[in-house]
Amino acid sequence: MRSQNLLLLVIVLAPVLGSLLLPLTGAVSARLRNALAILLVLAAVVGSALLVPDAMAGRTQTFRADFGLGINFALKADALAVFMALASSLISAIILIYSTGYIAHYANQNEYYLMVVLFLGAMMGLVYSANLILLYVFWEITAICSWRLIGFFREPMQVLRADKAFLVTVFGALAMLLGFVMLGSQQGSFDMPSAPISVALPAAILILLGILSKSATLPFHTWLPDAGVAPSPVTALLHAAVLVKIGVYVYARLFVVSYIPPEGFATLVMAVAATSALVSAGAALLEHDMKRIIAYSTISQIGFIFLGLAAGNELGLAGALIYILAHGFAKGGLFLCAGIIEHGTHTKDIRQMGGLLKTMPVTAIVFLFCAFSVMGVPPLGGFFGKYMVISAAINSGHLVLGLVFLLGAFLTVLYLLRLFNMVFLGESRGLAGPEGTPVMVGSVVVLAALALASGLAIYWPALLANQAASQMLGIAR
């Protein structure tokens, strides 16, 4: 067995346990609490960044504690996990910094910071876990956190939507747990195998149900647009950094790295993803609620990520990871911009907006650049992701499905420009909000800059993504 890497433990436990201290700190000082929250998330960022050199060299770090009865606390950091953890925690950190400006006027801030940091901690635990049961536990912690965060404003509507999100994702999670039990009885342990083994179709389908519900993919997707009632930093967190990326990550972890799905399974996933990408892109074109439009866009883009993963070749896997990173920056930026707009105009209905370019110029430009990245316009990061996953699908022989995604990409251009048009351009319809606070605007500028940098400096993220892709397929470099 390898040496224990305590850093892994720190990355996971610092936010998970540290989050519990936040309400206590909040009782003393709000500023101290905010600082501690940011610090805890930064611990995850820095910790994951420190793992990059090992990951690049193809060395896998582990931590393991056995508690008997087959129950253990086993963490593992390969290139895939490090990439995912770094992307998630970095975006979360920016969203958290933005939150300090956004959430400052609302009640229950202690709960907010507790839930957000716990959420990110659970994400770290999930990403690094090497055991199915551990993964399930962290999975459900994220469900609880998202339930509380979506219903943060406590109005009947919010609570109803939070319940919906919780019920749909937990229904999926229970199906997945059943799948895990079947896997466990097949292999005699809940540890993820070091070399991939085959999995039977029923177990694979059950696990897929969990993944699709968490990643808000058709037909389990409608909770995600409904979750737009949450505060904007929360929606950003759900869409860009943590929640919906869990599903795609677990797909990569289980069906690419650890288990060999049955024949035809990947094609099924691609077909589901294609339908999902097309339906949600179409819905985004008709929706009037700003946040719901961006939410449908997320559902659509998740389809592209699944396409890359299910294509299963090196190009597709690397492309999916780059897509996750680029989409995270861009979608986080879009939601945080939406937050600034909502803050300023007190509405989410784009039919009432217009001409906001004049009062919110920085937000408008950031919004546009993030939208460009989602559309896949160079030199932003989304360009590379989109090319790589579509190319990978073609290379794996799925030309027709690729064409469906091409149609989805067309619609992406249309609905994002429609959104930009109706919000920022044209004549003002009486609503004119001021620009956000410096912290909020600063955060979105950073996200837009990262969206741009992830394209201009694609070389470096691509190195790690490529390492992850070849490691996932067991190709030695």
């Binding site: 919906k164 749909v168 058709l218 037909p219 997707h221 409608t222 909770w223 097309l278 339906v279 949600s280 892109a281 179409g282 819905a283 074109l285 008709l286 090196e314 190009l315 690397a318 780059i322 460009f372 559309m375 896949g376 316009v377 160079p378 030199p379 360009f383 590379f384 989109k386 090319y387 790589m388 579509i390 190319s391 073609i394 290379n395 030309l399 690729g402 064409l403 091409l406 149609l407 990409a409 067309f410 619609l411 251009v413 249309l414 420009l417 930009f420 048009n421 351009l425 044209g426 694609i458 070389y459 691509a462 190195l463 490529n466």
Partner: protein, 609 residues
């Protein structure tokens, strides 16, 4: 060739653009920076002209590298692009002076130049796509800074070009799979099977959409009205034509082997012929200087696409020659339009008239460029059109008829434009109109002179720039000099004479130049069609939006149906189940015991059997 010289055509304009972008004042510094950047770019382009070199850099992995190749064809396009950029920049020196958004204009223009240079230098499909799609943002920006409300056109342009770029991306990925490499100079795909043919069509869409061919054209006339005028001269008239036709040639000649036998050849020719005719029909009835020109910018692409589509050496040479000729006369024409707009304050033909005396040099340049585009000997457009006629006739006479008909209407519409703007009655508003300043005249004069040079001395461009593109496929032909078929020349002259007579007759009947083609505009069958077209009933963009809305409505109902399952069906089913269970809880002790016993019996039965 050193890496610095390889990258200079991309980095110099890019750096210039980024430098100019924050310069908001009206100090004139931004104009000087832009001018220096374009000048330096031209110097580099000339210095690189005869060198061959490659540069390869690792990029994304998986064979997605940055590969640049400077060779004869790309060097030719680079030099042409650099010349137009410099001249338009010089023109803008005064033209954009008072505009507050001039810093953005110069910045976007320089970055666009960098992107075009990058796309032309690229020898790897993904490198090409990166620069190619990189034009999108600057395209949108340049239109958006036009008159108020121009953003709608900017979005339209972005959507049309963006969607065609996505097609290009898809086609590239297919071509990469088919040939096993993404390096362009290593690809030689036959177009015999369906997979390769689809890849060709998708890539072709990207190329001809950039060039502005139908059905991807409809943003151009809108931009002519909304965008700053030099935009029209630099992008739709020159840089985009150069890039689009360059790529179409590369696709047809190198990446794929387009043969006259393939069904793709007639497809391209039909697109070309339809574009020529429909766009020029629209040009004919325009009452605005810039808008009239913009329809010709579409129509002329048809000739190039038709020529390359013939897949014959004479057609390809004619197409590429027409591309460079078009970039010259069309940018010159747009610049004359700009001079008129600047000096007379309008481009509405109804308000213009008699400018030939006020602005003689502008008129002279207009005259040369108008003769070129109409194919009057011995200007450059005549020679490229004759080559195209030759090729079209070789394939099928119907294409020749279309091309010749297009020439008739082109000549008719330029007679109308010239008559309405430069002759006829002078409106009293324009008494104080004076000739444009020298910085605006100089670019026009240079281009007009080049139009004459490329015509009279066409052996120089043909032998040095264009024929080497075909290399061995030229099969020893030499198309320089006077057209070899005098019969076709006579037909051309007859058509031009017909156009002049048509104009004289029309102008006499209706009494003015602007109404000289009213007998065509209001002809019995054409009138309702024109009315529909003016109402954008045939705008492919609007049709595409309708299709998208149709798809969206379908998607929306699927989405709502699924949501209904969660919000209504699932809740209803749960309520129904619990209501039923509630009925069972009567509070009757004996009934509960009976249920328990029945349950136990089932368990026992299950365990025993």
């Amino acid at each position: 060739m050193s890496a610095i010289m390889m990258w200079a055509p991309i980095l110099i304009p890019l750096a210039g653009g980024l430098l100019v972008l924050p310069m908001r004042g009206k100090s004139g510094l931004r104009e000087i920076v832009a001018l220096l950047a374009t000048l330096a770019n031209l110097v580099v382009a000339i210095a690189n002209f005869n060198s061959v070199g490659t540069w390869t850099g690792q990029w994304v992995g998986h064979g997605l590298d940055i590969v640049l190749l400077n060779y004869q064809f790309s060097a030719f396009i680079l030099a042409a692009a650099a010349s137009f950029a410099l001249l338009v920049c010089l023109f803008c020196f005064r033209f954009m002076r008072e505009k507050t958004s001039a810093n953005q204009f110069f910045a976007y223009m320089l970055i666009s130049l960098a992107m075009v240079d990058g796309a032309v230098l690229a020898d790897h499909l993904v490198t090409l796509l990166f620069f190619w799609e990189g034009l999108l943002i600057t395209l949108m920006g340049m239109i958006a800074i036009g008159r108020p409300g121009a953003f709608k056109t900017a979005v339209k342009a972005f959507v049309i070009v963006g969607i065609s770029d996505l097609c290009l991306m898809f086609g590239m990925a297919m071509a990469g799979l088919a040939s096993g490499t993404l390096v362009m100079s290593k690809m030689h795909l036959p177009v015999t099977d369906a997979f390769n043919a689809l890849a060709f069509v998708l890539m072709m869409i990207g190329a001809i959409a950039k060039a502005g061919s139908m059905p991807f054209h409809s943003w151009i006339p809108d931009a002519a009205v909304d965008a700053p005028l030099p935009f029209m001269a630099i992008l739709p008239a020159s840089l985009e034509k150069l890039a689009g036709i360059y790529l179409l040639s590369r696709i047809s000649l190198d990446l794929f082997q387009l043969t006259p036998e393939s069904w793709l050849s007639p497809l391209l020719m039909i697109i070309g012929a339809v574009t020529i005719l429909l766009a020029v029909m629209m040009a004919l009835i325009q009452k605005d200087y810039k808008k009239l020109l913009s329809y010709h910018a579409i129509s002329q692409v048809g000739y190039m696409v038709l020529g390359i589509g013939t897949a014959l050496p004479v057609g390809i040479i004619g197409g590429i020659f027409h591309m460079i000729n078009h970039a010259m006369y069309k940018s010159c024409l747009f610049l004359t339009g700009g001079a008129v707009e600047k000096q007379a304050g309008t481009t509405d033909l109804a308000k213009l008239g008699g400018l030939a005396r006020k602005m003689p040099i502008t008129f002279a340049c207009f005259f040369v460029a108008a003769c070129s585009i109409s194919g009057v000997p011995p200007f450059n457009g005549f020679f490229s059109k004759e080559l195209l006629y030759d090729a079209a006739l070789d394939r099928h006479f119907i294409f020749y008829i279309a091309a010749l008909g297009g020439s008739f209407l082109t000549a008719a519409s330029f007679l109308k434009l010239g008559h309405a703007a430069y002759f006829g009655k002078r409106s009293s508003e324009h008494d104080n109109v004076r000739e444009a300043p020298i910085t605006m005249l100089l670019p026009m004069l240079v281009i007009a002179a080049a139009c004459i040079f490329f015509g009279v001395h066409n052996s120089w461009p043909l032998r040095n720039l264009i024929q080497p593109v075909l290399g061995a496929r030229l099969e020893g032909h030499d198309f320089a000099g006077w057209p070899h078929s005098m019969r076709l020349v006579w037909l051309t002259v007859a058509v031009l004479a017909g156009a002049i007579m048509n104009h004289i007759a029309g102008a006499t009947v209706y009494g003015s130049g602007i109404n000289a083609v009213d007998h065509i505009h209001y002809a019995p069958l054409l009138k309702p069609i024109y009315e529909q077209a003016e109402r954008r009933a045939f705008d492919p963009y609007e049709i595409m939006l309708d299709v998208a809305a149709f798809i969206a409505r379908g998607a929306w109902s699927v989405d709502r149906a699924i949501d209904w399952v969660y919000n209504r069906l699932a809740v209803g089913a749960a309520m129904l189940g619990s209501t039923f269970l509630k009925l069972l809880h009567t509070g009757d002790y004996a009934l509960y015991v009976a249920w328990a016993l029945a349950g136990a019996a089932i368990v026992v039965w299950y365990m025993v059997s």
